[in-house]
Symmetry: C2
Subunit: 372 residues, 2 copies
């Protein structure tokens, strides 16, 4: 991975192994996470640790004290929240002071757990605030990023309890996971379509619209080329375009490619797309997409000029119940993509800020367009 | 444990650690089970390994490939059954040839999983037959016992899909787990009542009734003194009486006390009774019940005469839907206990065998009593 020019990894431990009992965080397991961070340092790789893990490649990893006869809602049960806060505080303390720790994220796409843990937006906000504070407490001020992450339903899912506001305002930066299968983007527009090649860029601009702090960084924390959505032959160009287009956003923090290695077909029950998502095959051989990504990383590093601010913004007028207009198939999404294809570089501004001069000025926006 | 005169242990690994993916049995985890068996051998302790684990002290341990987005019924899904057969075969092969391996049990009280994995009696029978064959295949002929186990619903639960017949006929011997909280036995009759002190003995005699092979051994595989059902002050006498009375059954194979150590109160969410079930406290100090048990073991070993056959049998007339008559609070149970208290030593015979001379002769039964 380091040989491709990549500079960081995300690592996911399994929650039940870290905290098998509500009141026990296993010191041995925490030590193993720290060891992994130190091994990454030997290769000059930085590390983001996902704390409450949670959901991974279609499998949910909950400890037994939240399930079956002991069912507790992981988002709303006060004791379950306290236990997760303890886990994050413990991990933060163990990781603090290691220079290659990028930060501590609450968990990978925690909103995948909503289906089995019903929760309201207010409850999600309380959950995120509590756990972000615990992670910060553990890591210490200046000890690295404290973040959370959600799958695309937060941005595009009508009435989904995780909101764009929570993503764009809580934690030290905004993370987006703009997957080409969300809203059937690649199936709908085709794997070589502008909608697909500009999807990560769009994700950054959409996230910017919901931020209250001007210039808040946005991390394209997951993007990848899942077959059959992106056929293998199209994957290298998809990787190049995704990286270049995301790099054209003023506030992009970075991009993390999902993922390093194909899942071995000897392992059963993964969704088909997980078997082909790697930059390397399951035997560790780099695939053509790895070379494409490495080349683009090198090109971008050779010309590190920051992208200029976007002067034209498209107005997004939606509520939590109509946010799907901003997802693939939605009218706002399609208008933005049409403008982009025609050569414009549109930002996104929320309707409530469309006439707010302070907001527009702070973001360098000089022209506001309303979709017909 | 060995110092108390105990000669064996049951060990439960956690299924998700042994088989985290449907098609992967972790060699490292299997090696750790074998290591534990070898450590027990250093103390002259034999070991029964529970293979698909399963349920333990109120917590269910299922791997993620059976749950949530990947839900599979562990009893009926053909791929899930095949995976469990592979696990048992693999464990059996790893354990084969070690002289202190008592055997391989399918799992601890698998019927605790019924609540979340609905299943019919025919499906249970197919499941048990398939897995017992796999365990035998792994362990090899003569390589130790192959057994299964169920909690008391198999014996007393009307319409429960695990049946007394499956317990008494499948596997190399019958296991019973006659707990004093089942059917509220200790609450109903009192902790010093004959119903409580003869409960394990009764469990053996009831199991004998369902056997088709005369003299089939019955293992009192779980009994213990849970507070508040058995107050600590009554626990030593409960242990002495339980052991002595069970030893008075002709076909008893042995008794396993549940359990070695109290659960540490630093661990949350266990049912109250689990914190006080140990022979040792959570710091490893023997409790009065440990001395009582050790003394009784020594007494029984000093006088190893086998118990004589029981010549009088009480007729049990019930169906799978009325088997609760044979549990605490049931008319059959109470009649048997009354006879026992009056000094008789009754066996149990099923109504369909009550006039079957061959059956009665094979068991040494000379007199048949019918409850009024």
């Amino acid at each position: 991975m380091a040989g491709l020019g990549l500079d960081h990894v995300r690592v996911f431990h399994l929650w039940p192994l870290l905290q098998p009992n509500r009141t026990l965080v296993r010191a041995t397991a925490v030590d193993q996470v720290v060891q992994l961070v130190d091994l990454a340092a030997e290769f000059d790789l930085d590390v983001l640790v996902d704390g409450v893990q949670g959901h991974l490649s279609s499998f949910d990893f909950y400890p037994e004290w939240t399930r079956s006869w002991h069912h507790r809602n992981v988002f709303t049960d006060p004791d379950a929240i306290e236990a997760q806060a303890t886990l994050l505080r413990t991990l933060g303390r163990a990781l603090a002071g290691r220079p290659n720790v990028l930060g501590l994220q609450l968990g990978n796409e925690l909103n995948n757990l909503v289906e089995h843990n019903p929760v309201t937006t207010d409850q999600v906000d309380h959950y995120l605030d509590t756990l972000l504070a615990a992670a910060r407490d553990g890591l210490g001020e200046g000890g690295g990023l404290v973040t959370h992450s959600a799958y695309d339903a937060a941005w595009y899912g009508d009435d989904h309890p995780f909101t764009p506001e929570a993503s764009a305002r809580k934690g030290d930066l905004t993370t987006v996971h703009p997957w080409v299968f969300s809203g059937d983007c690649a199936r709908r527009y085709g794997p070589r379509s502008p909608q697909v090649l500009h999807l990560a860029e769009y994700g950054v601009e959409l996230a910017n619209a919901y931020a209250t702090a001007p210039g808040r960084p946005v991390w394209v924390q997951e993007t990848g080329a899942p077959e059959p959505h992106i056929p293998a032959a199209d994957a290298p160009e998809f990787a190049r375009a995704t990286l270049r287009n995301a790099a054209g956003c003023a506030d992009v923090w970075g991009v993390t490619w999902w993922c390093s290695h194909d899942v071995d077909r000897a392992l059963a029950d993964y969704p088909e797309l997980e078997y082909t998502l790697g930059l390397f095959d399951s035997a560790g051989r780099p695939k053509p997409i790895a070379e494409a990504l490495a080349g683009t990383v090198a090109d971008l590093r050779a010309d590190p000029r920051p992208a200029p601010a976007r002067e034209t913004a498209l107005v997004l007028d939606c509520t939590p119940s109509t946010r799907s207009v901003s997802g693939p198939g939605g009218s706002f999404f399609e208008t933005w993509m049409r403008l982009r294809t025609e050569g414009a570089r549109p930002a996104v501004v929320l309707a409530r800020h469309a006439e707010d001069e302070d907001h527009l000025t702070a973001r360098g926006i000089k022209e506001v367009l309303r979709p017909e």
